[in-house]
């Protein structure tokens, strides 16, 4: 086989050298386009390629900045460079990486429109666009307000801006966080952030205060966080739940004030995590419902609104599965398998999926939540009897082990996704 230049390998070589796969190719590989190069999209592109598809990954940023672990950048103990990955290894493996923005999807013609005007044809499309923060949800919080009161909920420039503000804040200052109601990216993320910034204050600026204003009363790993805060940061961190007036109703960027149902909180540094929705291309493709997120089939991840379009990761309504990098990575692999089966005329098999999320309450104090999921009643449902959070009252040694596992998870997963 090697060495014999058949007509087919000539054509194959030509197809690989151009952006278009001629649809006339006899027995052409199924052509799959993946939009979005995060934990979901990059994993899916790689697995689709390994499954024998012709894969194009469309991602406008040449460098990906990971949200998981970006709270350690805010803490001051991690360089942003440790959060950053490129697509070189994925391209080397044979995935065509197009560093451009996808700005249109024609579902009927099965084409994606790129920002330079070109169109790409697909047999199946995977959307993994993550989230967009909503600048129409909190009165007073628009994109220019985010330059003053960063959300830092998409890692990168916003993370660095918030870190710079925390560094510049004098000891004795007040840091205010506004946390949205569900659903949003990374359910325990705001509480990990509050913890690590409280740790920064405790060790560097001990006279400072941190106020967490929450639009809900119940949150991920709640008992574990509340117990840890009481033990570690009693004089620094104040938590205000919905029931105590924690819900943000308005933002005043001029005075750096968060207005809640019961009062106003002015901060020296303010972090507003606003409500979110699926990344914009999902709506452009017609894959979002009125909630702003994408309903999917729990077996194939195919959109319930658009045939031949699959949605994974934060943008999807994945039932009991949280919007996490681990979920996106697990869904991506199951989705790739489903697409390979569907495009070869076979039925997709019911997946079983895992989520694991570690949070750092302090650099050497980790806690976790885990779950196992399977299709049930039209959604991805919890497998009864499985999952749950770390033990309450675990030993310091167990907390340190989980902190180490958190780091190991990051290294192993990013190696699988980007390495």
């Amino acid at each position: 086989m090697s060495g014999s230049l058949t007509r087919r390998s000539w054509l194959g070589g030509f197809a690989a050298a151009t952006l278009f796969a001629p649809a006339v190719l006899a027995q052409a590989k199924p052509r799959v386009i993946v939009i979005g190069g995060g934990y979901g999209g990059a994993t899916c592109a790689r697995n689709l390629h390994r499954l024998g598809m012709a894969v194009t990954l469309i991602e406008e940023n040449a460098v990906y900045t990971s949200c998981p672990f970006s709270n350690l950048v805010l803490h001051g103990s991690r360089d942003i460079a440790a959060q950053q990955f490129n697509y070189d290894a994925i391209a080397r493996e044979g995935v065509e990486v197009v560093a451009m923005r996808a700005q249109g999807v024609d579902g009927a013609a099965r084409r994606v429109l790129l920002s330079d005007g070109r169109t790409l044809a697909y047999d199946r499309l995977v959307l993994s666009p993550g989230i967009d923060v909503r600048f129409d949800a909190l009165p007073g919080y628009d994109s220019s307000a985010a330059d003053i009161m960063p959300h830092a909920w998409k890692a990168g420039a916003q993370t660095l801006l918030l870190r710079k503000q925390l560094e510049a804040m004098p000891d004795g200052g007040t840091f205010v966080m506004s946390v949205p109601n569900n659903p949003y990216r990374c359910p325990p993320g705001p509480y990990e952030r509050a913890s690590l910034i409280a740790h920064y204050f405790k060790t560097q600026k001990p006279k400072s205060k941190l106020i967490v204003l929450d639009a809900k009363d119940v949150f991920s790993k709640q008992r574990l966080f509340l117990d840890a805060w009481k033990a570690l940061y009693p004089d620094i961190l104040e938590y205000v739940p919905l029931a105590s007036g924690g819900k943000t109703t308005e933002i005043d960027a001029k005075t750096k004030t968060v207005i809640t149902e019961f009062g106003a909180h002015k901060g020296d540094v303010v972090n507003v995590i606003p409500p979110q929705r699926a990344g914009a291309i999902a709506e452009v493709a017609g894959a979002t419902d009125r909630s702003g997120w994408c309903p999917i089939d729990p077996v194939t991840f195919e959109s319930k609104l658009q045939p031949n379009i699959h949605v994974i990761g934060d943008a999807a309504i994945a039932g009991a599965m949280p919007k996490s990098a681990f979920s996106a990575n697990a869904q991506a692999k199951a989705c790739a398998q489903a697409i390979a089966l569907l495009t070869s005329g076979q039925a997709a098999r019911e997946p079983k999926l895992i989520n694991t999320c570690y949070s750092l309450v302090a650099p050497d104090y980790g806690i976790s939540v885990a779950g196992v999921y399977q299709p049930g009643k039209g959604i991805l449902a919890d497998v009864p009897g499985a999952g749950g959070v770390s033990q309450l009252n675990a030993s310091p040694g167990a907390r340190a082990t989980e902190a180490q596992y958190a780091h190991d998870w990051f290294n192993i997963t990013t190696a699988e996704v980007f390495g």
């Binding site: 499985a386 596992y405 998870w409």
Partner: protein, 116 residues
């Protein structure tokens, strides 16, 4: 002259890339990879989110037999083996599912850096 020369270069490039594809030594491994991925039983591909190459506190699975993986999962599930997290995961799988996953994982070729 210039034009025909550049066309020749282009043809040569196409020819070379076709050759490169036809000669890829990894092709059989890829085919094997594809068949294995297509057959992965429910739940099996999630594991690599935490279990990768060796050199981490999270153990690699690449040096374990199917029986070892199955025994460990069964012990995590029943609580006879302590864990920070795996007991919560293991309870989500039936004995049949656990066995299928163990057999599949043990059959995967070790990735670069893994100690098999």
């Amino acid at each position: 002259m210039m034009r025909s020369r550049s066309r020749l270069v282009m043809q040569l490039q196409v020819c070379l890339s076709a050759l490169a594809l036809a000669c890829l030594p990894a092709a059989p491994a890829f085919a094997q990879d594809a068949a294995a991925l297509l057959k992965a039983p429910a739940g099996a591909t999630s594991c690599s989110g935490c279990h990768g190459a060796s050199g981490s506190a999270l153990p690699t699975l690449s040096n374990l037999t199917a029986a070892q993986i199955e025994d460990a999962m069964t012990a995590f599930s029943s609580g006879t083996r302590e864990a920070t997290l795996m007991n919560r995961i293991a309870k989500g799988y039936s004995p049949e599912e656990t066995r299928a996953i163990a057999v599949w994982i043990a059959a995967q070729p070790a990735k670069a850096g893994a100690s098999k």
